[in-house]
């Protein structure tokens, strides 16, 4: 019996082993189809090394990498702690370095076209206007300065890279490049409660790479092509051990514009209203593109004869728009010193060093420092007859970031010199910016409590760059100090529900006031694949140096009038504030699709601008005009002749209120390991209340008109009483128009904008990335008129060939449909670029 049982067992073992032998195929000859047909039970017969080979055959892991890269990202900027992007309580997008490189974007700003809710317009080759959701060019009908985005806080590793002098971000002064970047995190919506002032429409936080044992020793990106465009960066990274890591990076970029000519505006658009005289060619001309040589010959046209230049009665000479250097004591710019290389659009370089020291598991010390130089031709930041301006900057920074368990401390310095308008005295400033902040994240069972304090000090000083005091707008060193305390509570009463409250109070030296900002968020995670959230938040701008401390008298020499314009800041002005309500929904209908929907409504108030608050004029024919109007209430023979003499500009808060309603949808879809798609679109509508459709010149004209009215009224009264009236009088007025518009449609922001992209990998070594960016038509309101910007569909494409693990070669086409229409008012046509290059790592 026992023997029988043993024989039976032996036979069974033989059968089983032969069956198993049949099932377990040789991993070196097995096909993908055969692996895919196998069950997990069958596969479990293979050992670990064989399973790894089988997995490679199926290619399943590359798909996982795509999920990891595109759909399962982490983010830290939305809650100041690392969390899954899917769980982020705010409208958040993360752009990984790999995505940026794959897209073919040639700058950080251009890469932001991949992010929903961002409006990115190219001004000149490689210089951009970047806005989150909109609220751009408010107040309109003003200088181009007010089109700069002063509502978004851009940071590198939490260090603000913001221009507190005028407001806005000078993107070209960012010292880093793609090789430095780990990921860019974009948080849409007011975020001052987390990051301090200027995070009004949102935050763009660029996180740099941390060196570790798997970092390549050398990595580099280089591309070059059309319009003398060369863009390159290089990094060395070394991990000595798990405690000490260092990195050293450098970048260089140079580009030419698509034309050499520069736009001169306010010159009229048809022969009947031309304002300029082109000396040498001896003809009346208007607003147009001119070479710098032609610009040096532009003079004001005599408005009466219209066939000769207007002559200055004081010296009999014409009024040059750009007087030659040394023409007179107030000559502050000529075309050649203002635009030394009109063909160059951008030149920048930067070097950065990173040291990371982790003495133990719970302590990290990151120290970084660097230097940048930049020189760009883009929209002017001062008030010149041309829309173009050159800016250059030389700055250095140091940033220390310490984390010990749940305590974090960051302090940084940024200093150097920036010239906001080369060739214009008064626009070159030394800057010193300090920021320090400390936070502690107390984590309890269901609640995290994060109290924090911060101090910022931003000093700007133009005095060292002036030929004499009085010619700058500060004429001294001036400082904005901000001391702040904050508290963030993150409460998870259940697995699904999350409630966040963040509060911050800021005390400014000027305006001497305390500003509060906050964020209240509720999110409900219905299940692993659905999350709903609602946000109410408030944020504010900081004080800027120009708005607060301007003290500048401009003796106008190249215009017939006025003689003097005085600019004054207001130390007690109110800071611009935005309130936002937002709802959001994220859904993962299947593992390979992520859809993110957000709807928002925001109200912005307390904006302002340097505007005329007082105009003084000389009224040359008071008596004649009064007599003329006395008979029938009209000027028949003696229209009043009143010429503005001096204008007092002050930073004035405006009653203007902007109301924006909009929504964004973003879809990421990993269709297969060969094909990935992304689409995003934002639709919005902005309306303005208390909108005054007056430019600065219109206000001056209005104030002169009011002064004339009052003077004639007084003259008639005096004459009626039998008194004598002085026929030439100095008159003045500070009256303001009151014909406010409500529900005025603000069309500077396109009603829709978005992007589409596909990543197609027909074979492992080849990647094709077509990408489009589109926006609807806009109307840009400037002090010299409205500019209609056509809707646009831009198409870019990059083809990459991965020669081996170390080297990828690529061909990169930007604007390949050659759609040249301007994206930003008065700026260059969009060029088409064809670039070749490589990415290398060792």
């Amino acid at each position: 019996m026992k023997i029988k049982a043993l024989i039976t067992l032996f036979i069974m073992m033989c059968i089983t082993s032969s069956l198993l032998a049949q099932q377990k195929k040789d991993v070196n000859s097995i096909t993908k189809a055969e692996v895919l047909e196998m069950t997990i039970e069958e596969l479990s017969a293979y050992d670990l090394e064989e399973v790894m080979k089988l997995m490679d055959i199926t290619g399943a892991s590359s798909l996982e990498e795509l999920y990891e890269l595109l759909l399962n990202k982490d983010v830290t900027s939305a809650s100041k702690s690392e969390e899954s992007l899917f769980d982020s309580p705010l409208s958040t997008t993360v752009l990984k370095q790999e995505q940026i490189i794959a897209s073919g974007a040639t700058s950080i700003e251009e890469a932001l076209r991949l992010v929903p809710g961002l409006i990115v317009r190219e001004k000149t080759n490689g210089t951009y206007d970047v806005h989150i959701r909109g609220n751009d060019n408010i107040p309109g009908k003003n200088m181009l300065l007010y089109s700069e985005n002063s509502n978004t806080l851009v940071m590198i590793d939490g260090r603000p890279v913001f221009n507190y002098s005028h407001g806005a971000t000078l993107w070209e002064t960012l010292p880093i490049s793609f090789v430095d970047i780990e990921q860019i995190e974009v948080v849409r919506g007011p975020s001052s409660a987390l990051y301090g002032p200027n995070a009004v429409t949102g935050v763009i936080n660029i996180l740099t790479k941390k060196t570790n044992s798997s970092s390549p020793l050398v990595s580099a990106n280089l591309q070059g092509g059309s319009l003398n465009t060369y863009i390159g960066d290089l990094a060395f990274r070394k991990s000595f051990n798990e405690k000490l890591n260092i990195g050293l990076t450098g970048n260089y970029e140079i580009r030419d514009r698509e034309k050499e000519e520069l736009y001169v505006y306010n010159g009229g658009s048809s022969p009947e209203d031309f304002n300029y005289w082109l000396d040498g060619d001896d003809k009346a001309v208007g607003s147009d593109y001119y070479t710098t040589e032609q610009m040096s010959r532009l003079q004001l046209l005599n408005p009466y004869t219209r066939n000769e230049p207007l002559l200055n009665p004081k010296d009999g000479k014409p009024y040059y728009l750009w007087p030659a250097e040394g023409t007179n004591e107030y000559a502050i710019y000529d075309t050649y010193s203002t635009y030394p290389n009109p063909e160059l659009s951008k030149k920048k370089m930067g070097v950065n060093a990173y040291v990371s020291f982790n003495p133990n598991k719970t302590t990290t010390i990151d120290l970084s420092g660097g230097y940048q130089y930049s020189d760009v031709m883009t929209s002017t930041m001062c008030d010149m007859p041309s829309s173009y301006g050159r800016k250059d900057s030389k700055t250095g920074y140091a940033d220390l970031n310490i984390k010990i368990k749940d305590f974090s401390f960051q302090t940084n310095y940024n200093g150097g010199t920036t010239n906001y308008a080369i060739g214009n005295e008064g626009f070159e400033l030394d800057l010193q910016q300090f920021t320090s902040q400390a936070e502690y994240n107390l984590k309890l069972e269901k609640i995290s409590i994060r109290p924090g304090v911060s101090f910022q000090s931003m000093s700007y000083d133009d005095s060292k760059h002036l030929t004499e005091l009085g010619r700058g707008y500060l004429n001294s060193k001036q400082t904005v100090n901000i001391a702040a305390g904050s508290l963030r509570l993150d409460y998870k009463p259940t697995e699904k529900l999350r409630l966040v409250a963040a509060l911050r109070a800021e005390k400014y030296n000027n305006p001497s006031d305390v500003y509060g900002s906050w964020q209240f968020v509720g999110s409900y995670k219905i299940n692993e694949n659905n999350i709903f959230r609602a946000v109410y938040s408030r944020a504010n701008q900081s004080a800027f140096l120009v708005n607060t401390y301007s003290n500048y008298s401009w003796n106008v020499v190249n215009r017939p009038y006025p003689n003097v314009i005085h600019f004054d800041g207001d130390k007690d002005h109110q800071l611009k504030t935005m309130d936002m309500f937002e709802i959001g929904y994220r859904i993962r209908p299947s593992k390979n699709v992520l859809i993110d929907i957000e709807g928002f409504y925001n109200i912005t108030e307390n904006g302002g601008a340097l505007m005329p608050d007082y105009t003084s004029a000389t009224f040359y024919n008071v008596v004649d005009a009064a007599i003329d109007i006395a008979d029938n209430g009209q000027f028949d023979t003696n229209a009043p002749v009143a010429i503005p003499d001096s204008i007092h500009m002050t930073y004035l808060n405006m009653p203007l209120k902007s109301k924006q309603l909009g929504a964004s949808v973003n879809v990421d879809w990993v269709i297969s390991e060969k094909l990935v798609a992304n689409a995003h679109i934002t639709v919005q509508q902005t309306k303005l209340d208390n909108y005054l459709a007056y430019s600065r010149d219109d206000i001056i004209e209005y104030q002169v008109g009011k002064a004339v009215e009052q003077t004639i009224g007084l003259a008639l009264h005096e004459m009626g009483q039998g008194g004598t009236v002085n026929p030439v009088q100095t008159i003045s007025s500070s009256e303001y128009p009151t014909d406010f518009n409500n529900d005025y449609k603000h069309e500077s922001t396109p009603s829709y904008f978005g992007g589409l992209s596909l990543t197609y990998r027909p074979i492992k070594k080849l990647e094709i990335f077509p990408q489009s960016y589109f926006y609807g038509a806009q109307k840009f309101e400037n002090q010299y008129g409205d500019v209609n910007i056509d809707s646009k569909f831009l198409l870019n494409a990059k083809v990459s060939y991965k020669a081996n693990d170390k080297l990828t070669l690529f061909l990169n086409g930007r604007n390949i449909l050659n759609n040249k229409t301007v994206e930003f008012a008065y700026m260059d046509n969009t060029p088409t670029l064809v670039l070749v290059g490589f990415n290398f790592k060792l």
């Binding site: 479990s44 670990l48 399973v51 892991s61 798909l63 798997s214 692993e528 299947s590």
Partner: protein
């Protein structure tokens, strides 16, 4: 209609491929156990695998549990919302989506003979014994001997040589 059909097919294709990925992770885990020595626990009749939250790996592990044993013990797969639900787990898996709870897991199992497997970059530095990572388009795993030893687990050098050693 045709386009919709193609889209649906593409989605199905992707889902099946992602299923492959979870299957390989489960197979890896099953194989890890062959190279790791747990302290003698004769009283234990079951090899308990805890999984933090719902994850595609669970059905794959259950299929394996039905067909195979580990160290001659029946494999039991439990999905939990808190590690305290499986105090006797020999292996505890923290999927990518639950990575935020890694510290909760490591502190709960501190010193216990439990192999903690995770699925997100840098989690070995936070206490995981083995961690799945993506490198050059391939799924690989990191092994931290220090973290295994602290859980009374002995590791075969072969497992380390096939993976990426984190010191």
């Amino acid at each position: 209609m045709k386009k919709k059909l193609i889209a649906a097919i593409l989605v199905l294709m992707t889902i099946s491929l992602s299923g492959q990925q979870s299957m390989f992770k489960a197979l890896f885990m099953f194989n890890f156990a062959k190279y790791i020595e747990w302290p003698k626990q004769d009283s234990k009749q079951e090899f308990v695998i805890g999984v933090y939250g719902n994850d595609d790996i669970v059905p794959e592990l259950k299929k394996l549990a039905a067909a195979r044993k580990i160290n001659n013990k029946k494999i039991v797969v439990k999905t939990v919302k808190n590690p305290s639900e499986v105090p006797d787990a020999s292996l505890f898996y923290v999927p990518h989506s639950s990575s935020g709870n890694i510290e909760k897991v490591t502190s709960f199992f501190a010193g216990k003979p439990t192999l903690i497997v995770s699925d997100k970059a840098d989690l070995c530095q936070k206490g995981a014994g083995i961690n799945y990572v993506m490198q050059d388009g391939k799924m690989k795993y990191e092994v931290c001997k220090r973290n295994l030893t602290s859980h009374q687990l002995n590791v075969d050098p072969k497992l380390i040589s096939l993976g990426i050693e984190i010191k």
